[in-house]
Symmetry: C2
Subunit: 454 residues, 2 copies
């Protein structure tokens, strides 16, 4: 019986993260402070430890993974690479389809890959408390788990509407010992101001970020952790693609095209950057790999945004980063892939796209759920709505191959399971979901509010 799951021994957990900054044709544009000048590390030291800031700015190609981090990774890593043979048969495609399954982490997604080193470096720096924000809850759960592993107290500001609608993600954070508050909260000035303006404020990711950053900046024992967008987050996630490459060697195969969902950009970066390393060096055995970021057509920062300096949060607390953005005060519609509802895309991903080194497709919501259900019925695993974006794009390519007869090898990042998203599937089955395309004028209106660097 042929093996469909390719699982590395734990001794093969990579010893280094891959830093794509070392292989970019041009140096990454620096983050800018309110004065329009590059921020220096000291300014960020109030909320991040030095080791993280060093990674954020580094141009070293390989950055060693501390032994203590690998010891936690081995609770669930290496994650499996799986050949989706039943899906191939269901589609009747000559393409071969593989997925890398990150839902095996205790938190159920790829997010602990960066939560664990972030907790570790903070603990090394003497920090005993971390604050963060969470929308749907995947990142908050991952940081709660990681904090528990290193004896760090974690406080999560959870967007109020999710706090009320996703009680079980909240319970999970509590099971790992974290405190969870609905945002806007009474704990911060930002929160109190928002509640004064609007007592029933539903919260937003931008507001929750502002609350978490405000608390971290005001307490010496407390730092802040972010789950996507930044360079060090993308760096930590490269363990995904690095493992996948070893597993393709085991399988005696190699992908022609790689697909990953893209919101803030960390799951795409984690999967695609290690393959980009080969492309930058002339290809793997001379073969270039097509790298495809898949974003929701309702929040199309890469395909419809502008490549410009913008804030990371909605209230303009953070430094400005050069990225594809829809404008920091763009409010994405309430699609069910909560993890992809972000106005910008990682500066590193943005730069690669701007330089024509990766591709992007935008897919509508209904088609992603249709793909998720096909996948669940073929392969068993019920995917998270975010992951359904990559599945959709991979299925579309497999169906294109069916028409042309191409036997391409496709790989996608199955970033997490959908166990905490079943209400979204219910709404899909009930016919209550719809596609949403932002009118171009609305995006242009939002882009008018980009920070003025003149």
């Amino acid at each position: 019986m042929e093996s469909l799951r390719f699982i590395l021994p734990q001794s093969e957990i990579p010893g280094h993260w891959y830093n794509v900054a070392a292989d970019l044709p041009n140096p990454p544009p620096p983050p800018l402070g309110p004065d329009g000048k590059p921020v220096n590390p000291e300014q960020m030291g109030a909320i991040f430890p030095a080791a993280i800031l060093e990674q954020e700015m580094s141009s070293e190609r390989w950055i060693p993974i501390p032994q203590e981090v690998r010891e936690i990774y081995r609770l669930w890593r290496p994650s499996p690479l799986v050949r989706a043979a039943r899906l191939e048969a269901m589609l009747g495609t000559p393409a071969k389809i593989y997925y890398k399954y990150e839902g095996v982490s205790p938190a159920g997604s790829h997010k602990p890959n960066t939560a664990v080193p972030q907790a570790y470096y903070n603990r090394q720096a003497g920090i005993r408390r971390l604050t963060t924000e969470t929308g749907a809850g995947q990142w908050g759960c991952s940081l709660a788990l990681a904090g528990q592993m290193f004896g760090i107290d974690v406080r999560v500001y959870m967007v109020k509407v999710s706090y009320e609608q996703k009680p079980y993600r909240r319970s999970m954070m509590r099971a790992w010992g974290a405190e969870v508050f609905a945002s806007p909260s009474e704990m911060t000035q930002t929160g109190r101001d928002a509640l004064a303006r609007e007592p029933n404020h539903p919260g937003s990711l931008g507001l929750a970020i502002s609350e978490a950053v405000e608390e971290a900046a005001s307490r010496a024992d407390t730092n802040y952790a972010l789950g996507s967008v930044l360079n060090h987050v993308a760096l930590h996630q490269t363990i995904i693609g690095q493992e996948a490459k070893k597993q393709f060697e085991m399988a005696g195969d190699w992908p022609d095209a790689v697909f990953a969902p893209c919101g803030g950009g960390s799951s795409f970066a984690g999967m695609a950057f290690p393959f980009y390393a080969d492309n930058a060096a002339g290809g793997h055995k001379g073969k270039m790999v097509q790298l495809v970021a898949v974003e929701p057509s309702s929040c199309p920062s890469l395909t419809k945004g502008q490549y410009a300096y913008d804030f990371g949060d909605s209230s303009g607390f953070t430094p400005m980063m050069k990225m594809y953005t829809l404008g920091h005060n763009f409010t994405p519609p309430s699609i069910h892939a909560g993890g992809l509802r972000y106005h910008g895309a990682s500066p590193l991903v943005s730069q690669l796209y701007h330089e024509g080194l990766i591709e992007v497709v935008a897919v509508p919501q209904l088609a992603t759920f249709e793909a998720g259900v096909m996948f669940a019925r073929a392969e068993g695993v019920i995917p998270a709505p975010e992951s359904c974006h990559a599945i959709r794009a991979a299925i579309d390519e497999a169906l294109r191959c069916k028409q042309t007869g191409e036997a391409r090898t496709l790989l996608f990042n199955l970033t997490g399971h959908g166990h905490f998203d079943m209400s979204s599937y219910d709404r899909y089955f009930a016919g209550e979901l719809e596609d949403f395309e932002y009118p171009r004028e609305a995006i242009q209106e939002s882009l008018r509010h980009l920070p003025d660097l003149a």
Copy 2:
């Protein structure tokens, strides 16, 4: 870095199930019909295919696993054996603790191990529809998944109170294409009678079994599938213990004691029977393995029940089986380990216990949640409430070893994750759960209604 996860290649998925009936000191007492005489296979043929009935009655030691079943098993098997090194350190015990993690199946528990062959054999027999009951939903999900894999329509009668309280298990069944109805329903005479008596009837597992059996018995294209108790179910689950034995060889270790939760008995049978095979043959390299079934003290069929013939369901539709029972009309309290709320224990498990070949401990609810939270904080995985029973017993033994200084090797069956049980953890954290011990007189009253075989 030392390996903590022992993962077999897919070529090592066992080729046979182990039938403990071949190694019992005495032949298993046969199931009896309403006339008090052994039922013959023909009588059961209305709801089970011949291949399943043959397994139910077989005394062959090794029963081959069909290739088609192994091809589905390989979607998630072999499941990992994991050394719980962080839990050991947290407890400060000299004992070594391992767990076998069955939560990696798409349905999140060990139940697909038998759902898949049951769907396969029914399909081979030309059956296109299966009915079943489900309480908390783990079994219903597993049969929905398995039915989808073999093109069989699945109809699940879900206990009404769970149908309302566990909407996401219901959604999961629908994602895999099953029909789900709240029981009592209008679909069967049993359901209509119950609703006529009590329009707001909350349902019960016994009633849901009766509905599923009634429908299967009345339609030629439809059979019935059960997720625990019966011999063929225990047989299919032995893939767990067989894999564990191969994995201990990889690890260069061997368990001194094995713990598994025990309700109907299939997860205990699946883990323990393959180790019993060595005990029956004089031990593994001369060493006997201690086999411990862990039941809830609120539903203590093995420790406080009677070894007698009793019905499998509450309304007396099924044949009578010789088993430890609390009486078929015993109503277990609403503990959160819904999968352990059954009035009897598998006849094979019961017989081994009666003959002194296995041990049983009963543990109270609060202590199981306490153990589950310790485990989650040490190892990451949030366990299902059923699994917490085995964790509790393993932790108790590890703490005993700490006192005596014994470096025993312990293994437990982590039967599933708790992603659909977070409301139970919420109630535990809120201090709303309590322990429940049935008064002896209540059990004796219920046992007065055992069927009269005189």
